[in-house]
């Protein structure tokens, strides 16, 4: 704490502790956020970041310790009180109504009655001022994840907070969108507001944060100026050891074609969805193909079509191991050896209020019928083998949990994601399709998941990774393709790809040259 300022911190915690049963989720946290500072909160999933932030925002009551606001002890009993105090929060999981417009969503979060026109006006003004382009009359369902996040930011800015808490804000953004966000943060800082910035992206933290507090297992393990540190020294504080480098080396020569997509088109199913147009893609055994792209360009539609949650009329446009599969449902495709990991953990890949063993049955009851079901037509779920498999997967993926078989929703994002990926890897699929495998996942878990995907390809399976995280794409892919407005660029070997070229393809320049100077610059900046 070399640059300790003499002024009182805007927000300070002393010995803040939260105990759940026997678990000390936060254990005597001391934290001080100075006015006009961007303060990073670093830590693995399960380190206690969310618990800490929830106490600061009045969602949870501390078990011990105190919170000081401008030097005076305060009790923050609810999010409303937090807002009244001057704390704003942008959550990792957005709370927006898709069917309503931007302005209506903002209005819902405000106390008192305000004419919707005034909100629109105010939102428009704020969004321009802070470089967060947003159309107040647009329907949320039409917007990309990045734009949805802007709504949340504008919504909290309307309350005129002195401290804004951002939870993993860039995990869903493109490099360009992230740059925009950083400009916004710089502007907030220049106005004298403070930002508590939760992230696991070390480069970002180094780039924009003035100070950092690192948590591990509920305790502060470091307080530093991130610019004085290296990414690996930060990572050490977080993980408590060196983060394993992913070794993509050793991906052998690609083998037989396992997935072949030819001229696949799918109309948009809702007014808010993206149509897929003439998608071509060939994936061979032993390959990891990454599909990069900005959120909302047809990634989830592509995933749905590949998984069979949505079928296409032309069976031949998708062949799995040379069998026409376009019209087969997800169960039939699983029986052909495919596995799928969708983007959304809660409510798509897993049922949050069901325990892990139930969530294992969810995607494996058909492929592992013999192991998991007995009683013939009765279809009894055999709890013994299911529990054993749950245990096996948890051990293989290092899923950390407080109970033997907890509800999926009680796990932290990274741990649940490890379980969900592990659930599919456990059956050694021939083809694995995964959408945003590590979004909102901490560094340790992300590296484990990525390594597992590469290892699967090494063992001779075909892996398709849809991801917005370019670091991830470069780390694991053997070939890279970019999706833009429902169209897929021709996959190219990862070794020949540059960030600049991906940036251009994301921007719709399909020849990868184009005059997108702004895009190119932003891509350079990374």
């Amino acid at each position: 704490m070399q640059n300790q300022r003499t002024e009182t911190p805007l927000l300070e915690t002393r010995g803040l502790t939260k105990i759940f049963g026997s678990l000390r989720a936060c254990d005597g946290i001391d934290l001080a956020i100075a006015p006009g500072e961007i303060h990073a909160l670093l830590g693995e999933n399960g380190a206690g970041k969310s618990t800490l932030v929830k106490m600061l925002f009045g969602v949870l009551d501390p078990s011990a310790g105190e919170i000081l606001w401008k030097g005076k002890p305060v009790r923050i009993g609810s999010p409303g009180e937090a807002r009244a105090t001057g704390v704003g929060m942008v959550f990792q999981h957005f709370s927006l109504f898709e069917a309503l417009t931007v302005a209506e969503n903002i209005a819902l979060a405000l106390d008192g009655k305000v004419a919707i026109d005034r909100i629109s006006e105010e939102a428009r003004r704020l969004s321009l001022e802070y470089g967060l382009p947003l159309d107040p009359s647009a329907h949320v369902a039409d917007l990309s994840v990045g734009e949805r996040q802007r709504i949340e930011i504008v919504r909290s800015l309307l309350q005129n907070p002195e401290l804004i808490i951002l939870d993993e804000p860039t995990s869903v953004l493109t490099p360009q969108e992230a740059d925009k966000l950083f400009e916004t943060l710089a502007k907030l800082k220049a106005e004298g507001r403070s930002v508590l910035y939760i992230s696991h992206r070390l480069e970002e933290v180094q780039r924009i944060c003035d100070r950092a507090t690192v948590l591990r297992h509920g305790k502060v393990t470091g307080a530093c100026d991130p610019r004085q540190e290296t990414p690996s020294s930060l990572a050490r504080m977080m993980v408590g050891g060196e983060v394993a480098e992913i070794s993509g080396a050793g991906l052998g020569e690609p083998g037989e074609v396992l997935v072949e997509v030819r001229k696949l088109s799918a109309p948009a199913r809702t007014p808010f969805a993206v149509a897929l147009r003439d998608v071509d893609l060939t994936v061979r055994a032993g390959e990891v193909i990454a599909i990069a792209g900005v959120a909302g360009n047809g990634q989830s539609e592509l995933f749905d079509v590949l998984s069979g949650e949505v079928t296409v009329s032309d069976a031949d446009s998708l062949r799995i191991a040379d069998v026409p599969a376009g019209r087969l449902g997800i169960t039939a495709r699983r029986l052909m050896g495919c596995s799928f990991v969708p983007e959304e953990r809660h409510g798509h890949a897993a049922v949050p209020n069901m325990n892990l063993s139930g969530n294992l049955v969810l995607s494996r009851y058909a492929s592992d019928r013999e192991a998991f079901l007995t009683g013939g037509w009765l279809g009894l779920i055999s709890s013994g083998p299911v529990a054993a498999a749950t245990k096996r997967i948890s051990a293989a993926m290092d899923v950390r949990k407080s109970l033997e078989d907890p509800p999926a929703g009680s796990l932290s994002g990274g741990n649940l994601q490890k379980f969900i990926v592990g659930r599919e890897l456990d059956r050694q699929p021939r083809v694995l399709v995964v959408n945003q495998p590590t979004w909102g996942v901490d560094a340790g878990a992300a590296s484990r998941i990525r390594q597992a995907l590469v290892d699967l390809a090494k063992s001779g399976s075909a892996v398709i990774v849809i991801s917005q995280d370019l670091d991830e794409v470069f780390e694991i892919a053997s070939s890279i393709s970019v999706i833009n407005e429902g169209q897929l660029s021709k996959p190219e070997p990862a070794s020949g790809m540059t960030r600049e070229r991906i940036g251009l393809l994301m921007g719709g320049f399909h020849d990868g040259t184009g005059h997108g100077t702004e895009t190119a610059e932003a891509a350079h900046a990374n």
Partner: protein, 364 residues
């Protein structure tokens, strides 16, 4: 100032268990207030409403007669509601089940052997299931609202029964009174202990059904589907479960059980097809399902509880001289408090005083 519901971060597990009992207690308190306003001694009134019916053997038999259809219907509805299908029309399915099953003794009075009763029960189930299939079909095919369709089909069924009982199925020797011939004994669901009271084997059917469905929900893949699709349709689609199949399954099952309850009522408790065969069992069973926490075993206990409100209503009419509609009032109170308690487990009430206007300015 306004009232806000705020989600509790961690709902209390203790209160989740206690909730039905708290609701029961509140119902009794509200009932006492109501009797006081009616000018009756509340303790006496509650005694004659809730306790007296349990003091005599014959009225305990009556209790099982009323509980049987409630439990049968509520067990089916539990599955239906858990799978996120909202069948409000069990009353109609009950009636159609009663009609279809009754056709055997009415149209084939000579067909009297050990097959008669099973055939009637199967036809009753088929009738209820068929009536339930209508909203399921319309929902899955045309995306109609199953709440409205199933509810409206209740009135269709009621009027159809009324027409049959006064018209084509009327007993020709019945002095023009509405109602069919009285069923021969081979077509009547027998009483369990005829010397003591009127309880018939319907209650046994109800308890068997509850246990089977409980087992299904708890241990089988089919039950797993119900829970997944009810909690999370998208995750269900990811699992490869069909929403359409589930809608049909839920409606056919709940309709079939309601139909079984209908024919059990007609052949067990009534003994002939009349122009009305149900004092609203199909609707009361909705309360039973929720009071039983959408669990088939819970429905057994809740079924007896609600059966008591029917008996209590009659008792209140006789001993207190108040309308038997009091029973309906208690049913309504109970549902109100059950839903209220369940809501308050998950949410807390906050009074919000007008606060400083936010940045966007807030007058008006």
């Amino acid at each position: 100032m306004r009232i806000e519901l705020q989600k509790r971060p961690t709902p209390s597990a203790l209160y989740a268990v206690l909730s039905p009992f708290i609701a029961l207690g509140l119902t009794l308190i509200a009932g006492a207030i109501m009797f006081t306003i009616l000018g009756k001694n509340p303790l006496d009134a509650l005694y004659s409403f809730f306790i007296e019916p349990l003091t005599e053997v014959w009225s305990i038999h009556e209790l099982t007669v009323k509980a049987a259809p409630l439990i049968l219907i509520a067990v089916g509805l539990s599955v239906c509601y858990r799978s996120n299908n909202w069948n409000i029309g069990a009353e109609g399915q009950f009636i159609v089940g009663g009609i279809l099953g009754s056709l055997v003794p009415i149209l084939l009075p000579g067909f009297q052997n050990w097959l008669t009763l099973p055939l009637m029960l199967v036809l009753g189930m088929a009738g209820g299931a068929a009536w339930g299939a209508i909203p399921a079909f319309l929902k899955t095919r045309f995306n109609t609202n199953e709440i409205l369709v199933s509810l409206m089909l209740v009135y269709t069924a009621q009027l159809f029964l009324d027409w049959l009982a006064r018209g084509v199925l009327r007993d020709p020797n019945g002095n023009n009174f509405p109602g069919s011939i009285r069923f021969p004994s081979a077509a009547q669901l027998p009483e369990i202990m005829p010397s003591q009271g009127s309880a018939h084997y319907g209650i046994l059917l109800a308890i068997i059904a509850a246990v089977i469905i409980w087992f299904m929900l708890r241990f089988t893949l089919n039950g797993f589907q119900v829970r997944v699709l009810g909690a999370n349709p998208r995750a269900g689609r990811f699992a490869g479960f069909s929403q359409t199949r589930m809608t049909f399954f839920a409606f056919l099952l709940s309709g079939g059980l309601a139909g079984l309850a209908g024919i059990a009522e007609v052949s067990g408790a009534i003994g002939q097809l009349r122009e009305t065969i149900s004092p609203g069992y199909g609707f009361t069973a909705i309360i039973v399902a929720f009071l039983g926490r959408l669990s088939p075993l819970g429905a057994i206990a809740a079924g007896f509880m609600l059966a008591l409100t029917y008996l209590g209503g009659e008792a209140a009419q006789m001993t207190l001289g108040v309308s038997d509609k009091v029973g309906r009032v208690f049913q309504g109170l109970l549902l109100f408090f059950v839903l209220g308690c369940d809501t308050l487990i998950n949410y807390q009430v906050r009074l919000v005083l007008r606060k400083a206007a936010p940045a966007a300015g807030g007058q008006g």
